[in-house]
């Protein structure tokens, strides 16, 4: 089924937000990625048609943005922040842990297709580093034990209660 058939109402709602259709490009690419885990060529062609663009116009835009995958990634995409503030508090060690536990380095996926590792730049949690994002969730103030539990949770239930909730750090002090 095409995106327009499957998500007719959602696409209409997205288009209604903007006076110029092309603005809906990133939102529609997100929709396509949610559907298949990455942005397929067919999806790009279809989005071009919906927005009255040429496929190269879509391609040129999609390649500028790092959050769009143009090929399949593992079920859990681990993204470790390696920028300075996290590096000061041990992000390089987190990379080693993942490497030792899953046998993958940056850019690699485990043979079972479960985990892909990427190194990324600052994710706006520098005060609670080292940290990583897995799919849409943040995991902060990582320790080796925490990493073990997160990986085990993801394997067994597909999600982990160790993910961050609405962010505040430091937490309010009890008076």
């Amino acid at each position: 089924m095409t995106l327009s058939e499957k998500y007719r109402d959602e696409i209409a709602a997205i288009l209604a937000r903007y006076p110029v259709k092309r603005s809906a490009l990133i939102p529609l690419l997100y929709l396509a990625q949610r559907e298949q885990g990455y942005v397929t060529e067919e999806a790009m062609v279809e989005i071009a048609r919906i927005l009255g663009l040429t496929p190269p116009q879509v391609y040129e835009t999609v390649t500028f943005y790092t959050l769009f995958n143009l090929k399949p990634v593992g079920k859990f995409h681990i993204q470790i922040c390696k920028s300075l503030m996290c590096a000061l508090v041990g992000s390089d060690t987190v990379i080693e842990w993942i490497n030792a536990k899953l046998g993958i380095g940056p850019g690699e996926t485990t043979p079972d297709g479960l985990f892909t590792l990427s190194l990324v730049e600052c994710l706006a949690s520098c005060g609670t580093g080292p940290m990583m994002q897995i799919n849409e969730d943040y995991y902060e103030r990582l320790t080796e034990e925490k990493v073990d539990r997160i990986l085990a949770d993801l394997r067994s239930t597909g999600s982990s209660s160790l993910k961050s909730g609405p962010f505040m750090w430091p937490e309010p002090m009890k008076t």
Binding site: R17, P19, V20, K21, R22, S23, A24, L25, I26, P27, L29, Y30, L51, E60, T61, F64, Y65, T66, L67, F68, K82, S83, L84, M85, A87, L88, V89, E121, C122, L123, A124, S125, C126, G127, T128, G129, Q133, E136, D137, Y138, S164, G165, P166, F167, M168, W169, P170, P172, K174
Partner: protein, 435 residues
């Protein structure tokens, strides 16, 4: 520890505060809209904001009321407000907290700004990774719409404002305001050549204001408590109000601290953030995000306001304060930031695109102990030829870490290179190898 009145973080610091519409209203929220919309002429709102002395919290520190005043007065077509929620400057994590813990405070600020500038549509451009913040904002917008604070004819005043969340997709440069506009138009996020400025040619070529999340969150307070009150906080007349300082690195209690502008770095680090995490003393700190040059222990009594930090040779920027202890290699730290800038250069102009690649290569080889003494000259020259010669301010930002560390810790660069040279004496590389 000195106590200071909280403004922006006040609600959320109350244990149990969840940021819902009802909780926000109970804390006095949405009063500013009731007092302002249809009661105070938009031009007077702009005047009040100008009088408050509020300056942008996104990095550049431009006076907010003055910026709003640049919009053409007689223009009849649509105008836009864009809330800059891209928060990607390494070391900065305050907007995320404002959005996830008290989203209605941000929304009320957006509605007030729209009213002042005559915009009926606002887009919150939020960095793509902040999925939770986007979800929380969407939910808050739904609540505010149902309560009549957003949408057509707000509270019967005849004012229309619609607010939409627009997610970015992973590109630091989209925090630069004209790149943000390009991205919002569905294109690659390449900064535009200025002038023309967004005030006249912004989103879809229409008059547009771009303001940071924290800037906007201040507006409800300025309008309920008055510009004179706001102007009395901090270091008047040039740096009024509070800042949320994001403290990271080697301190005991990293995190967000809202303090009046003008507190010293010493107070921030040693009183609020708990001091150094171990018995190693402070070696260096960055006062305003990755784009701000490093400072030294000699600068601990510098006041954290726009003028004082600039006078000390750095900038207050985004409010991200990163602390480094003795033992941290400054060359390594500068390289880490340089890797970031190299990765994020959008490639539109050659000094930045080529320059960032050369800088990162030279820095990598110095850290790998394969540097040569001439590299130091080359680094300085490159920095001078990038800063001020690019389409956007990214060019000035990317040279900051290297220029700052070369100024105060040149000896560390020299030591690494000496090691390289003495290693070469013992084990000469074959001619033409490596490098």
């Amino acid at each position: 520890m000195p106590q200071h009145e909280l403004i922006l973080l006040k609600n959320m610091m109350r244990p149990g505060y969840g940021g819902s519409l009802a909780e926000y209203e109970r804390a006095g929220g949405y009063q500013a809209i009731r007092m302002t919309l249809g009661k105070i002429p938009p031009a007077d709102v702009t005047t009040a904001v100008r009088k408050s002395g509020l300056r942008g919290r996104g990095g550049a520190g431009f006076p907010t009321g003055v910026k709003w005043g640049f919009l053409p007065k007689d223009y009849q077509g649509p105008r836009y407000l864009c809330c800059n929620a891209d928060e990607s400057e390494p070391g900065t994590f305050k907007d995320r907290q404002l959005m996830e813990r008290d989203p209605h405070q941000v929304l009320e600020g957006i509605i007030l700004a729209c009213y002042a500038i005559g915009a009926e549509s606002a887009y919150i451009y939020i960095r793509g990774e902040l999925v939770l913040a986007a979800t929380i904002l969407e939910r808050a917008i739904g609540e505010a719409r149902a309560a009549g604070y957003i949408g057509k004819n707000i509270l019967g005043t005849g004012v229309n404002v619609d607010v939409w969340v627009h997610r970015g997709a992973g590109a630091y440069i989209c925090g630069e305001e004209t790149a943000l506009l390009e991205s919002l138009e569905g294109k690659r996020g390449l900064p535009r050549v200025k002038p023309p400025f967004p005030a006249t040619h912004g989103l879809y070529g229409k008059p547009t204001v771009v303001n940071n999340v924290e800037t906007l969150a201040n507006l409800p307070h300025i309008l309920t408590r008055g510009p004179e009150w706001f102007a009395s906080i901090g270091s008047p007349p040039k740096s009024t109000g509070t800042r949320i300082f994001c403290v990271s690195g080697h301190v005991k209690r990293p995190g967000n601290y809202e303090l009046p502008m003008g507190v010293t770095v010493r107070e921030l680090i040693y009183e609020h953030a708990g001091g150094m995490r171990s018995d190693k003393p402070l070696k260096a700190f960055i006062p305003g995000g990755a784009s701000a040059p490093f400072l030294t222990p000699a600068h601990l009594d510098v006041k954290l306001d726009f003028e004082s930090v600039a006078a000390a040779g750095s900038m207050l920027g985004s409010g991200g304060v990163t602390v480094m202890e003795e033992g941290t290699s400054m060359v390594w730290a500068a390289l880490r930031l340089m890797e970031f800038f190299y990765h994020e250069s959008c490639g539109k102009c050659s000094p930045c695109r080529e320059g960032s690649s050369w800088l990162v290569q030279i820095m990598r080889r110095i850290v790998a102990k394969r540097g040569r003494m001439e590299d130091l000259e080359t680094l300085s020259d490159l920095c001078k030829n990038i800063a001020g010669r690019t389409v956007c301010a990214f060019g000035d930002a990317e040279v900051a870490p290297i220029q700052g560390t070369l100024k105060y810790w040149r000896d560390e660069y020299v030591a690494l290179i000496r090691e390289a040279e003495s290693a070469n004496l013992i084990m000469p590389e074959p001619a033409g190898a490596k490098r």
